[in-house]
Symmetry: D2
Amino acid sequence: MTLTPSDLTAIIRQGVPASEGSGFLVETVEAGGVLCRLPFNPQQIRPGGTLSGPTMMTLADAAMYAAVMAQLGRLEMAVTQSFNINFLSRPAQADLLARAEILKLGRRTVVLDVKIFSEGSPVVVAHATGTYSLPPAGRE
Amino acid sequence: MTLTPSDLTAIIRQGVPASEGSGFLVETVEAGGVLCRLPFNPQQIRPGGTLSGPTMMTLADAAMYAAVMAQLGRLEMAVTQSFNINFLSRPAQADLLARAEILKLGRRTVVLDVKIFSEGSPVVVAHATGTYSLPPAGRE
Amino acid sequence: MTLTPSDLTAIIRQGVPASEGSGFLVETVEAGGVLCRLPFNPQQIRPGGTLSGPTMMTLADAAMYAAVMAQLGRLEMAVTQSFNINFLSRPAQADLLARAEILKLGRRTVVLDVKIFSEGSPVVVAHATGTYSLPPAGRE
Amino acid sequence: MTLTPSDLTAIIRQGVPASEGSGFLVETVEAGGVLCRLPFNPQQIRPGGTLSGPTMMTLADAAMYAAVMAQLGRLEMAVTQSFNINFLSRPAQADLLARAEILKLGRRTVVLDVKIFSEGSPVVVAHATGTYSLPPAGRE
């Protein structure tokens, strides 16, 4: 059964407490990936007008998790194994969009790439890659 | 002026919104690093009894930021430039301790290493490395 | 003065000893990046028929260096600051192609992304990101 | 059967072509890790007197591979899954020493940490972390 964007949003808000209350949502399911949104929240702004690193890490990780489940179905036991992020530009004071794409779909792991943008701008503000570890089949 | 653990705790809780309300605190300032604590919170538990990745990413990033300021003083404009984490073991249902150490103190960047443990266990549950970018001197 | 693919090939073969003798070459300079080639060499094959990790790391790093100089001109003092790679699929027994793209062009650093393919296949066999540190202007 | 440092050196020189001819050797097997040496070679020096990034990546990867086999025995099908390195200081014109330590020994993966030093100096010149993927048991 294919999960819809709102199914994915609900599973992630429930399973990743840091995304709850943030307004995080999965906007669209695309071929091999998803597009997610984090609404702008002035309370997340750090001194100097930038967003905190963990805000974007949390968004990127949640977008990867959504892309894994959009591809493989509800897999609550999938967990992040490794995660790497580069912060590139200061985001605008606008919603953040995160596009997660599956680079490799293996039996044991999924490797993904996430690009984060400010809504209305093509500039990549952060770029993450990560590996999700899948539960052994039949053990869920 | 040297910042005390409670100075650092206050600056970080104010500057990194994701750490506010979590009970995050800097416990001790050590030579070239800091030891931080994230109190156990049953609401952070994911399905399967594990902590979410972003909870540990946020802790690791905050511990790095504390180590930078313990060394260099109040530097609110220091920002994460890159961050890498490997999740190694499922943490126990206990407080998490994060030890951040400075690997390189440069003029423009600080490179750090963080090991996260469950209180009462020597097992490293996550290992992170990251680079903080320093503001140009005199421009703060 | 813009560097041509053969200028870039010559600078890299001279400056990165590990690429000398490998047949590494910059094929084309593209908007914001380069396409490089590493000819297939049966002597690089590991047990099990795969290429060694360092062969692809060396290719990815050289492609990043070429992309930096294609953009900024001859900059022999530019050095890798951080580098991350995920190995995705076993490459075919064919030439490797590496496409490096600049994600961020800063004053002090350049952040890049590299995708490695086997010639004749669209599958990404390895994906790398890295940061090059630029020499302070005028100090070269 | 436990592999000695010279067994490990021979397996790696044979299996990782980039390490052949470099003089790479495993010096000692330690609890949970290994210490390796890369002899100084003036031909590896880049403009500006520094070593190329790939030279240190190759050393770090080979040290991880040695640590995996020191722990688990001859495992030629173990391959690098992900690799991350930060370059910290310019190495001296001296042999490089690389200490690899196992951070996590799982059934499917081994996560390791490598610190690289110039002989005679305590300064870490590069710090790497990586994940080796193990072959499924019985399939070697």
